[in-house]
Subunit: 213 residues, 2 copies
Amino acid sequence: MREELSGKQQQIFEFLRTFLQDKDYPPSIRDIQEGCGISSTSVVDYNLRKLEEKGYIRRDREVSRGIEILGARRNRSRIVEIPVLGTIAAGQPIPVPTSDRFGNDSDETVAVTEDMVRGRANVFALRVKGTSMIEDLIDDGDIVFLEPAQSATNGDKVAVWLKDRGEVTLKRYYHEGTRVRLQPANSTMEPIYTAPENVEIQGRFISSLRPSG
Amino acid sequence: MREELSGKQQQIFEFLRTFLQDKDYPPSIRDIQEGCGISSTSVVDYNLRKLEEKGYIRRDREVSRGIEILGARRNRSRIVEIPVLGTIAAGQPIPVPTSDRFGNDSDETVAVTEDMVRGRANVFALRVKGTSMIEDLIDDGDIVFLEPAQSATNGDKVAVWLKDRGEVTLKRYYHEGTRVRLQPANSTMEPIYTAPENVEIQGRFISSLRPSG
DNA sequence: GCGCGCCTCGAACGAATGTTCGCCGCAAGC
DNA sequence: GCTTGCGGCGAACATTCGTTCGAGGCGCGC
């Protein structure tokens, strides 16, 4: 349990939060002073120290505006931006994640909490077209998160590139003897059987997200 | 289309982004200088001006560290924090959204892009227990977003409070003559029939999210 | 009353930070 | 060869910002 805050401390903390929300940088002490109608910077400093003692914020000395809000919200769930590289299961090849190229603003991103992609690196996202994975709770229009992978174990949901068809699709993967079965999670659809040489795994399914319509 | 960036400008812009990601405040000009291995602050300033001209960032003069990244990522999808108020369909009553009480760190939040809850106000979230809505692609452990509502039209997915049982559950709602049918989206489960007076609608389903395991 | 802790005040100081200015190198165009 | 424009350099300079310090108010226990 965290210690109680005095009225002024609560006010300052609240101001901090809304300021951070609006602008994209923290307020200076004098910003806080004005914003909270306090008559001296030292009062702000004093209460900021209190807030730091009590574990509500972290201050970076020798850095102006070096205030971070600790609190549940920011620690428990950091935000990561995942590039949405295209659409899957509609027949087009997907471009590979172009490492770090930026300034290319044609690519969209979605922001999600870190726990959607916990621990993984280079996660990317694709928009799903079609209902072939409906029984795995992946619907048309959903966004799926994938991590780059070259291999899969049986039952994994993977994005695979079918060389002969020149297309990418999201399916469950089963290696069965000399062939590979790509199993849709939709009882009205038939699996695809093909040779292992014909499939190239692009990524492994992590999680999905359904934007509200 | 945005103007091209020189190598140095791209480097600075990239540095800006990663810095913002790590810390919660923007870098100073001297931070950028060091981080990019530039030998003079004026070079940084020069290129920052270029970046601003070209529409990549916005600078707040008379404010140190007053740099905001414009760009697709931040504009297209703002981030909102949704309080997770509890669990649904496990029998407990849910607490109502306690407006703005803060400093109460027992409540968890999830951060999602604005488009998960587009336009709605006072959205809250609940963790789903059970698979009664599996055919609507809502699984055990999912988080559902709801907006406060007192009424529903037939077929809506709503969180309802059953007065006689003293519990809250997530179901599809059908008003049928003198009774209400609460229909699970799971063919192995039976609907609940009850009197309209016995149900109190708590919220209307907006969207769901499945945290990665 | 007196001391003590908690908080506030106002002013100053010094560090951190943003901005300006003169100078230089280089490549393109004349 | 000369000019012009783009980038870069380093050193001031000006401002913003964080911190400190002495002083004082207020409530509480003695």
